[in-house]
């Protein structure tokens, strides 16, 4: 119960980072997401912008900031594809909002919580992506559920490694 011990108020620690981290980490995530699939081919089962969005949303514990962060990351991700701009934007906007809302309520330093949160939010982002494409826009998009599952697992594993590294960059009082 220590995990769920925090109350609904934002009485948990709000993490702060240098401005350079806010600029460079999302940029690095976007660049690596665009570059690594060239090396890994079809086995690039991860979504680094999503992981970074979840991290900052959990750390800042502000739904508005999480929403804006997710929207920006998603829109830039969309801009690199040839699809309509806004599909990933909507998905990551919702993810950022939910991650920040959850971060207010629970202690997100726990590795298991981080693992589960990343897994569920990745699945949610994939579901929103497919929903927007097939239902909202009516586009003929084929998708494979196991690819989305592998991507969710990959995001969770990356988050396990990446979150402690990013924790070291925060400003400590």
């Amino acid at each position: 119960m220590s995990v769920l011990g925090a109350n609904f108020r934002r009485d948990l620690e709000i993490r702060r980072y240098p401005l350079l981290v806010y600029a460079l980490v999302p940029l690095a995530a976007l660049v690596l997401q665009a570059w690594l699939p060239r090396l890994l081919g079809r086995y690039a089962w991860f979504d680094l912008p999503l992981v970074v969005t979840v991290y900052f949303a959990l750390g800042r514990r502000s739904p508005i900031q999480g929403t804006l962060m997710g929207a920006a990351m998603g829109l830039f991700e969309d801009a690199l594809t040839h699809h309509a701009i806004g599909i990933n934007g909507i998905a990551k906007t919702v993810v950022g909002f939910l991650a920040a809302s959850v971060g207010v309520r629970i202690d997100v330093d726990n590795h298991t919580i981080r693992l589960i949160l990343n897994f569920l939010l990745s699945l949610l982002a994939s579901a929103i992506y497919v929903f927007i494409n097939r239902v909202l826009l009516g586009l003929d998009l084929e998708w494979q559920w196991f690819t989305e599952l592998f991507k969710a697992i990959g995001n969770s594993l990356i988050a396990l490694v990446l979150f402690p590294l990013l924790d070291r960059l925060q400003i400590k009082d």
Binding site: V31, T67, L80
Partner: protein, 435 residues
């Protein structure tokens, strides 16, 4: 009212951003005449600007990584190696690492040199004008099979140019930026290329499926299509020139939506997942090498000389024909034709006359056989007198010839088998009985 906005500030911000993005999506998607939604229309200027920003943000670091050959694998290995070096023997291991890096760099350079050499050889042999480019990045999404080139509009690239390698086609240029370009690969779900199967000559449209495999869709079920058959570009899409290799048939599966249709899964000839150097066809005007141009000029000159020789030969033949006497002269009566000239050493040969002429004998359609009864003769049916029916034209000597060839066939030098004055009916021989 103020407390409402303060209290529900977070959901309101979320709602506002979502609505803005949904409106943006609605602006981008349009409906085709067939009732399907599509994103194929060119982007509006605002969207184009966002893509340009994203490209400007991502391409320079990608270009930097690509040019300096700093892969994640190198960094990771070197990081671990350096940690071990410090623990054991720092100086010696550094030297080894440096040598390893140099070796890896040289090996990579050698491999790249080999690839570029092969590409250059293909480019020199290829008939169309091409531009070599490097793949520097991708979309980062498995739903969007696009990648980026390090060449852009400043280098002459334009939208819808074909992108190929020496192995086969890769895709087409979808969006062009000043110093980079976005290429839509053939295994994307929204791509489309006209292809033809080499042996069965079945045509179809190639596009990608959800697994990133190119497949030919909308093909009627055909038992002749077997794995291993080569797939070539058909040339009807105005993007890819005809006859370029696409890949080979990997397997044939039934279309899940339509029973009588099949999907042909194609194994692409080009390695779409591992692209480094590609060629962009910048012009489909034929480009010939100096040797080819020389061969064409030689061929043209030879063809001209040959035509002149044939024309001169025809002219000489006409002159000879005018000078030599002909076999028929329209100005002379039929009996004075040169054909009947007895001085002609090479008379025209004619078939011998029939010993038993009947109504099927050439030239005797109205002269029935003498022993034929009146009822079977064609003339009898019309009520003609028998003397008229059996009357034969007279020969040049005035002797009656009941069955002879036409007058024109009687020419000097020939040996008629039936002479005038001879009986028309040969003596009938009675069959001899054996004693």
């Amino acid at each position: 009212m103020e407390s409402f906005f303060v209290r529900y500030r977070n959901p309101l911000v979320l709602l506002a951003i979502l609505v803005a993005q949904i409106i943006g999506l609605a602006v981008q998607v349009r409906q085709t005449g067939s009732g399907r939604n599509t994103l194929d229309s060119p982007d509006s200027s605002e969207v184009r600007l966002i893509r340009l920003w994203a490209d400007m943000l991502v391409s320079p670091p990608e270009r930097l990584i690509h040019s300096s050959k700093l892969g994640v694998g190198y960094l990771w290995q070197n990081y671990l190696d350096l940690r071990h070096v410090r623990e054991q023997n720092q100086d010696l291991q550094k030297t080894i690492d440096r040598l390893r890096l140099e070796q890896a760099s040289l090996l990579e350079d050698a491999h790249q040199g080999q690839r570029l050499q092969a590409l250059l050889g293909f480019q020199q042999k290829y008939i169309y004008t091409t531009l070599a480019a490097q793949a520097i990045g991708s979309s980062g999404s498995d739903q969007s099979r696009v990648f980026y080139l390090d060449k852009g509009s400043a280098d002459g690239l334009e939208r819808d140019m074909a992108v190929i390698t020496a192995d086969g086609i890769v895709g087409k240029v979808r969006d062009v930026f000043p110093h980079s370009a976005q290429v839509l690969a053939i295994n994307d779900q929204t791509s489309g290329a006209g292809v033809i199967l080499e042996t069965t000559r079945v045509r179809g449209v190639l596009r990608g499926n959800a697994a990133g495999q190119p497949e030919i869709v909308d093909i009627m079920s055909d038992q002749r299509i077997q794995p291993g058959e080569k797939v070539l570009t058909a040339g009807g899409d105005q993007i890819f020139p005809r006859g370029l290799p696409v890949g080979v048939v990997e397997k044939v599966v039934r279309d899940p939506d339509r029973d009588s249709f099949i999907d042909v899964i194609v194994k692409p000839a080009a390695q779409l997942d591992r692209l480094d150097e590609v060629l962009v066809i910048t012009s489909t005007q034929p480009r010939f090498s100096p040797q080819d141009q020389q061969d064409i000029a030689t061929s043209e000159s030879l063809k001209g000389a040959e035509a002149a020789a044939i024309q001169a030969q025809q002219k000489a033949s006409q002159i000879m024909a005018e000078r030599l006497p002909g076999l028929t002269d329209p100005n002379l009566p039929p009996d004075q034709q040169p054909l009947l000239d007895t001085s002609n050493p090479n008379p025209v040969a004619h078939p011998p006359l029939a010993l038993h002429p009947d109504r099927f004998t050439p030239g005797a359609a109205t002269a029935p056989a003498p022993d034929a009864d009146a009822g079977s003769t064609p003339g009898a049916a019309h009520g003609l007198p028998r003397e008229k029916q059996t009357s034969a034209p007279e020969d040049r000597n005035g002797s009656a010839a009941p069955k002879v060839a036409p007058k024109a066939n009687l020419k000097p030098g020939s040996k008629p088998s039936l002479k005038s004055g001879q009986p028309t009916q040969p003596a009938q021989t009675k069959p001899q009985r054996n004693p």
